[in-house]
């Protein structure tokens, strides 16, 4: 190694390498500065920091720990951990908190029956399936008085039509994330996804059910259709659209849209919120033809050990101040009217993610549990992407 360091050639190579690194990264840094200077986001940035001061809640009447426990099974990074501390302080019930990555992981654990949770937070279609398979138990509303805070617009959805088994925790939509600088005009329709103007300038989701649902809506069908003719229409539309699509992506869409890689992307509203917080150029719209609306909702599994604790937890999560604090952290749209008031309705509703027009929202549908028919979607999707 010593001999290497003495060689002139080594140092020349090192210097050349460093120059390359500077050109690659130092250069782009300067570019950002110029852009920043022109748009003046420095001030905006400061203002934003002031605004995003955490929404602080303190435990009301702390009590001693009782030794009672409940176990909660939720999506990863989907709760403000302070909220759990407050629950423990107020009720004396210790929360064992575990997280899952997909509905299917969660389902497998509950269905196998090996483990027992008291509160779980599945998505709509999974709730429908779990109700069908008797894996959930009805919630006793007498013990969950704060359910009055939940906006009735977001209850009695087809996955739990009698509003017996689940309390919506967050909701979201699928829609278009677009770059206001590069689109000719702000889109309000899915038609932009077929517009030659945006050839090789749009991202689609590499997710069979979701992308197929949008294609079904675009061809005028029900987004849960399992009718062969409907699905053939959707398939044809997606194949025809292929030359316009820059790429079929999943998580990468966020980084790419923030970097300005394309003008339009089909996204989930949660990703849109993140992208819009990172880039002022991005905006979100739920197209007027309607879309998919999805829920994650709190449920009590059939084999829960501490049902009363679970009810207390669900009631607690529906409390206005708690739901507001939690919204402040999680950032997904919430169905809790009182919490929205408390957090600041005007600012909340200013976001196109939280507040799509009512008539659009009415056209939005949840995914139904399709059972074996899910395979149809996968098969068609495979045929679509392997078309070349």
């Amino acid at each position: 190694m010593k001999r290497i360091l003495k060689k002139k050639g080594f140092w020349i190579a090192l210097i050349i390498a460093l120059v390359f690194v500077y050109l690659a990264f130092g250069g782009s840094g300067r570019e950002e500065e110029i852009i920043g200077g022109a748009d003046g986001p420095t001030a905006i940035f400061v203002a934003e920091e002031e605004e995003s001061e955490p929404f602080a809640v303190m435990p009301a009447n702390p009590v001693e720990m009782t030794g009672e426990t409940i176990s909660v099974y939720n999506w990863g990074d989907y709760i403000d951990s302070d909220v759990i501390d407050i629950f423990e302080a107020e009720t004396g019930i210790r929360v064992i908190y575990e997280t899952f990555e997909t509905n299917e992981d969660m389902y497998a654990k509950i269905a196998m029956g090996g483990s027992s949770y008291d509160v779980i937070v599945p998505s709509d279609y999974m709730i429908e399936r779990m109700i069908q398979e008797e894996l959930l138990q009805p919630i006793n509303w007498n013990n969950v008085p704060n359910v009055k805070n939940i906006d009735p617009r977001f209850t009695h959805e087809s996955y739990d039509p009698e509003f017996k088994y689940s309390v919506p925790y967050t909701w979201g939509t699928m829609g278009l994330l677009y770059n206001t600088e590069t689109v000719l005009q702000a889109p309000d329709s899915w038609d932009i996804l077929l517009d030659e103007e945006y050839r090789m300038d749009m991202f689609m989701l590499n997710a069979p059910r979701d992308t197929m649902a949008i294609a079904l809506v675009m061809s005028g069908h029900d987004l849960n259709s399992i009718d062969a003719a409907d699905l053939a229409d959707a398939k044809k539309l997606l194949i025809d659209q292929k030359p316009l699509v820059l790429a079929y992506v999943v998580d990468e869409v966020k980084d790419k849209m923030i970097a300005g890689e394309a003008s339009v992307a089909l996204v989930w509203s949660g990703d849109a919120t993140f992208c819009m917080s990172e880039s002022d150029e991005l905006n979100y719209v739920v197209p007027k033809e309607g879309s998919n609306i999805f829920y994650d909702a709190m449920c009590i599994p059939h084999n829960a050990r501490n049902v009363s604790g679970a009810e207390k937890f669900i009631d607690f999560m529906c409390r206005a101040d708690i739901a507001a604090a939690n919204y402040d952290y999680v950032g997904y749209a919430i169905p809790n009217t009182a919490a929205i008031e408390l957090w600041g309705a005007e600012e909340y509703n200013a976001s196109p993610v939280n507040n799509p027009p009512q008539d659009t929202l009415e056209k939005c549908q949840v995914f139904r549990y399709l059972g074996e028919n899910t395979k149809l979607y996968d098969q068609i999707w495979t045929e679509v992407i392997s078309e070349f």
Partner: protein, 322 residues
């Protein structure tokens, strides 16, 4: 003899748990499908329905459980044009990748082992150094270089800004301001070549390095030109390394899935992507296993063919050198 067997026991156990059992599971999943458990509906006198299962037990709720049954349906589905085309494309991409790796890797190995080349170990280290990083990271770096908003495009943009004449000329040639390098088959091949190149260089380098230099000297003494001594000595002797390199590049290339998703932007799906989908999004482990079996057969056939070349060569070697 007994002692040797005892020593091998941990390995045998290891092989059983991590090789034989998973293989058996893949085969089992591959030849079965899931179907709802059969039941008969019995309408009660009061109009309600009771469901009777095969074992005679009765329930008032409609049974939803599934069971695995033997079926070759997935093999039929596997032979649909969609999947065969995907397999063909995977083979094509893998062959091109392997060929490029060989064309790039063989000369590199040759140069590194050259008599005049100083400090080959350092250069070899530099070649392998990037391989110590996670390959996802390396692929992501290529993405940020090649993206529309990536490093390469921003350099080109800066160059075109600096030289307006060049910009005009390129525009007149129909070259867009933003060149789409990513999201196509070539990008996928580039990503694979970059990731697998060292797997080609290493075995070839090792083999060439071990060739007895006196053979080359003898060839030169006897009047063979460098080209001739390469063709008659180095090339035949390096063939085992080449075959190993080909295997080490081709096999991962034909089964990869992440590189094609990231570099191809989901537009260049390979058979590996589809298999991965079956175990992920589609959660159809049975069909995924069937496709895995298909790929295993193809890879085995390929290895078998290579093995034959290797064997065929052995007897000629001496003759050729002599």
């Amino acid at each position: 003899m007994m002692r040797n067997k005892a020593l091998a026991a941990p390995f045998v156990l290891w092989a059983m748990i991590f090789i034989v059992v998973p293989l058996v599971m893949i085969v089992w999943y591959g030849v079965t499908i899931e179907e709802p458990i059969p039941y008969t509906e019995i309408v009660q006198p009061d109009g309600s329905v009771i469901y009777q299962l095969e074992d005679g037990s009765r329930t008032t709720e409609k049974p939803w459980q599934k069971r695995a049954v033997f079926s070759l349906n997935n093999f039929r589905r596997m032979l649909e044009p969609t999947y065969l085309r995907l397999l063909l494309r995977s083979l094509k991409v893998a062959v091109i990748t392997t060929a490029i790796c060989l064309l790039l890797g063989y000369p590199v190995a040759l140069i590194l082992t050259g008599r005049d080349f100083k400090r080959p170990a350092l250069w070899l280290l530099l070649l392998i150094l990037p391989m110590w990083m996670n390959f996802l990271l390396r692929t992501y770096s290529w993405m940020s270089i090649l993206e529309n908003s990536g490093i390469l495009n921003s350099w080109i943009a800066r160059l075109r800004e600096a030289i307006p004449a060049l910009d005009e000329w390129l525009l007149s040639m129909g070259v867009r301001r933003r060149i789409i390098f990513l999201y196509n088959e070539n990008a996928v091949i580039l990503g694979m070549v970059y990731n697998y190149l060292s797997f080609m260089i290493m075995p070839i380098y090792t083999v060439i390095e071990k060739i007895d230099k006196s053979l080359l000297e003898a060839a030169a003494d006897l009047g063979a030109s460098p080209v001739k001594s390469f063709l008659r000595v180095t090339l035949p002797y390096s063939l085992p390394g080449v075959l190993e390199g080909i295997t080490m590049v081709f096999v991962p290339a034909v089964t990869t899935f992440v590189i094609s998703q990231l570099m191809g932007g989901g537009k260049v799906p390979l058979i590996g992507d589809i298999i991965q989908n079956q175990f992920g999004k589609s959660s159809d482990w049975h069909f995924g296993a069937t496709l895995s079996l298909l790929v295993m057969v193809v890879v085995l056939a390929f290895m078998g063919a290579l093995g034959r070349i290797d064997k065929d060569d052995e007897p000629h070697k001496e003759v050729r050198i002599l």
